[in-house]
Amino acid sequence: MNEALLAVRGLRVDFVTEGGPLRAVDGVSFDLSPGEVLAIVGESGSGKSVTAQTILGLTRSPNARIEGTASLRGEELLAASEAELRKVRGDRIAMVFQDPLTSLNPVRRVGDQIVEAIRAHRERIGRREARRLTVEMLDSVGIPQPERRVDDYPHELSGGMRQRAMIAMALALDPEVLIADEPTTALDVTIQAQILDLLRRLNRERDLATVLISHDLGVVAEIADRVLVMYAGRVVEEGALDEIFYDPQHPYTWGLLGSLTRLDRDRPERLPQIRGAPPSLLDLPAGCTFRPRCPHAFGRCTELPDLEARGGEAAGHRDRCWLTPGEKRERRAVGGRIGLEEAR
């Protein structure tokens, strides 16, 4: 159980853009164990999507420079050839994207697109057999009347059904890893709950390791085992789910947790906010990238902290903040809950 299924080390992705060179991902490392759900949390510009897409080689282009390693059961992916990667995509690592309406080809039937995925990897499976498998998959993700839905076009399905169909397509070949990039963001809250239930069930039944990318901590709390918090291309905190929510070590995490609305608590006078905005990746501040927005910044913050376990408790709980564990415990308590204190 403890050998990592997917091991990423020092992932770095640079793009050449009109505005200059841009570092979208800066030294990201993590392990994914079989059956584990890892959540990568971040906002726009955090690099979470680029990280996921780079693992599958989807960001390869003449404008991109990719460094580091990502290995699936020891097989190196980042340096692999297109032909080798193609065998991994869909078959061993599958990906589900945010908006199922634009992520499916609008002029082809849903069933055809799933059949295409199946036959791309299993040439010996005939059309009829592939279609039967497709209907089975649609059924297993909870789509009613799958034998009729299989001939529908994407726009003929509701948002929730579409996302289930995408999940069905991703899992048709029984991959070991599922990467889900904001799978519920475009959906209504009741549908979101259903999709999360589905993902949880699939994770359990198939022992499916999942990387869930999201900006929504509520979603993360429902489904993740471990959490990576990313900011401006770097991991600023990582740890087990409970560690992140109940013992967060980085001010950005405090800010994210603080700005959450809780239906089961009294509402605060003013919604806690993080001042400023995520930085432009073309013009990052030196040292700790969160420094301009952090009310607790002090002299040392001009030096970039390494990602380390500073609390001395769990080795897997690491962060990039120079404050001492005592200071962190003190400062994150704002008005009886965890939060980021307003600017002094």
Binding site: Q192, G218, V220, E222, Y246, R262, L263, L271, A277, P278
Partner: protein, 287 residues
């Protein structure tokens, strides 16, 4: 949100009764005949007191956007009444509505689509004043600068273009534009849904401050019931063209009476792992 809660006995700023907006589905060989109707808004009653924030919650397709546009007379109501400051405005012609428009403004969801990319920010913010001829030239520029500062941008931004700003900043520009004609009512249609989580709170707090400073009345539409609960005094829950529940925000969220409201609340993920696990253990109904 505001310090003194508006009393229910105040004359409502906005009163909507039996509002209906249907869209006809037409079919026919030579001449289009109506074969069906899409009942986007199917008999809605609402009232908003001056200085109050009414939260409107519902999922996609429930008709909340159509409701907003129909109330503001951007769409012609099929039936029903809309009284603004006691005056009936449902069914008024465009000319008759013109003098009223400055008093009711709208903030839109998509900060990328709701600003004309070819216009400078100063122009965008000043347009409402220019159209109403309430200011021009140097005075216009001054007002635009003032508004930008008020929403947290700098007056130097007046000459820049929308694409030079981030999503949160663009939304501030949209707010400045809505404030320009000094409205009494602002309808905010999903104003923070498209923004980063850490920016949402900033915009919500800004709207709060502006409400106090200018005595604004808000109708705040969103599908995120958590945000709505924070900003609203009263909440109306919309489902398939009708309001299924309405009441003080805390009451609706803590003791919902309608099954739809209950299912909506039950579906909201709890950002607290222990609570979330506990809830799942006791097996609540989700589907």
């Amino acid at each position: 949100m505001s310090a003194e809660r508006p009393s229910a006995h105040d004359e409502p700023l906005l009163q909507v009764s039996g509002l209906v907006k249907h869209f006809a589905v037409k079919r026919g060989l030579l001449i289009d005949r109506e074969v069906d109707r899409v009942r986007a808004v199917d008999g809605v009653d609402l009232r908003v007191a001056p200085g109050e924030t009414l939260g409107l919650v519902g999922e996609s397709g429930c008709g909340k956007s159509t409701l907003c546009r129909t109330v503001l007379q951007l769409l012609r109501p099929t039936a029903g009444s809309v009284r603004f400051e006691g005056r009936e405005i449902a069914g008024l012609s465009r000319r008759e509505m013109r003098p009223l428009r400055p008093q009711m403004q709208m903030i839109f969801q998509d900060p990328y689509a709701s600003l004309n990319p070819r216009k400078r920010v100063g122009q965008i913010v000043g347009d409402p004043l220019r159209i109403q001829r309430s200011a021009s030239g140097a005075e216009l520029r001054r007002r635009a600068r003032e508004l930008l500062e008020r929403v947290g941008l700098s007056s130097a931004d007046v000459d820049r273009f929308p694409h030079e700003f981030s999503g949160g900043q663009r939304q501030r520009i949209g707010i400045a534009r809505a404030l320009a004609p000094q409205p009494r009512l602002i309808v905010a249609d999903e104003p923070v849904s498209a923004l980063d989580v850490s920016i949402r709170a900033q915009i919500v707090n800004l709207l709060d401050d502006l409400q106090e400073e200018f005595g604004l009345t808000y109708v705040f539409v969103a599908h995120d019931i958590g945000i709505v609960r924070h900003v609203a005094d009263r909440i109306a829950v919309m489902h398939e063209g009708r309001i299924v529940e309405e009441g003080p925000a805390d009451r609706v969220c803590e003791r919902p009476s309608h099954p739809y409201t209950r299912s909506l609340l039950a579906a909201v993920p709890i950002p607290d792992p222990r609570e979330s696990r506990a809830r799942r253990r006791t097996g609540d109904v989700r589907s």
